[in-house]
Symmetry: C2
Subunit: 200 residues, 2 copies
């Protein structure tokens, strides 16, 4: 571990605590403890809990969005993008297991605040991809489908396992090893499933 500025320490501790416990469950004292500083420092660098939360949310949002944009705004084919996104997203989330759930949770609980982000530059923006899907449909490369439904299928199949980990593992009776194996398999299986359903 390298020396970090106090402000960075605080943000990292806040990320850790907020992502695990959410806004309502997080405690300022716990964040201070994890950052190994006095609680007053939190308010010195970040005015209050809400502001600190917003910094954490912004960081999470900014970390998450590129995984959608990079893939979707590249100049690859629809098929290639589906393959690339699945692999890149599952790998990313396996390294950041709390992130999708945190985002989903806080967006649901704080829709108006979250909508500030969806308007912005950094927001995931699949519009170009949606257009591309329509173009490939017109060209006869893929079968007709609502681009938004295709995207929703892609997001659902990749993300749900991580958001609902506990429920999934409980119902399907999966230990951690089996779960991870399945996630690796899904990197191949999901694109196959989706591409197969739209290719002519």
């Amino acid at each position: 571990m390298k020396d970090q500025s106090t402000e960075e320490n605080i943000l990292n501790a806040a990320i850790s605590v907020f992502q695990k416990k959410g806004m309502a469950g997080a405690r300022m004292q716990e964040i201070a403890d994890e950052a190994k500083i006095n609680k007053a420092m939190l308010h010195y660098y970040y005015k209050n809990k809400q502001k600190l939360f917003e910094a954490v949310f912004r960081q999470a949002f900014e970390k998450f969005a590129p995984h959608i944009n990079e893939v979707f705004n590249s100049d690859k084919s629809v098929f290639e993008k589906i393959i690339k996104f699945t692999d890149s997203y599952i790998s990313f989330v396996m390294e950041n297991p709390y992130l999708p759930n945190f985002l989903i949770q806080e967006i649901n609980n704080n829709t108006e605040f979250a909508n500030l982000f969806f308007g912005s530059e950094i927001a995931p923006n699949p519009i170009r991809f949606e257009k591309q899907i329509e173009e490939e449909i017109e060209k006869g490369i893929i079968k007709p489908i609502d681009p938004k439904q295709l995207l929703l299928n892609l997001f659902s199949l990749t993300a749900f396992s991580f958001v609902g980990t506990g429920l999934v593992r409980g119902i399907l009776n999966l230990d951690e090893k089996k779960f991870k194996t399945m996630m690796e398999e899904r990197k191949i299986m999901i694109p196959e499933l989706l591409i197969n359903s739209i290719k002519k």
Copy 2:
């Protein structure tokens, strides 16, 4: 609205508040207000917040599980079960929009407690369905696939939209009407997608 016993009032109020705000975000006073009774009554009928939460969790779990079991333990074919489950689950969740997210959230935050339920009678138990899938594979009716992966696809495609409503609507830029329309379409589209991927 019919007259309900105070205990029922409390449980209903608790369901409403806990499902929207989760264990950490829920306030005993808010539950009392919603039930229109004195806060002390909560402790009269339910010892403490934890116990009240557990009653709510149990109710949610018991309400949710049959939608999996009824379909999966019927004597229909795999194809028919996929069709039935999708329709029944999406309809159910559109009427109970907070339920899946609440369960997922609290199972994630309280794995050991939740595991008490996964062992029990009422737990969603897809083992018979998994065996049926293997049988139909052997009989050559459907293509080889890990039954657990098929189930995970089914759960993902049906549930994710409701768990990540805010994120989905934000990214895909959906108003409430369009979202609902898409959910209706998915009752048809999801079984098509899944059946098509496994039928020979």
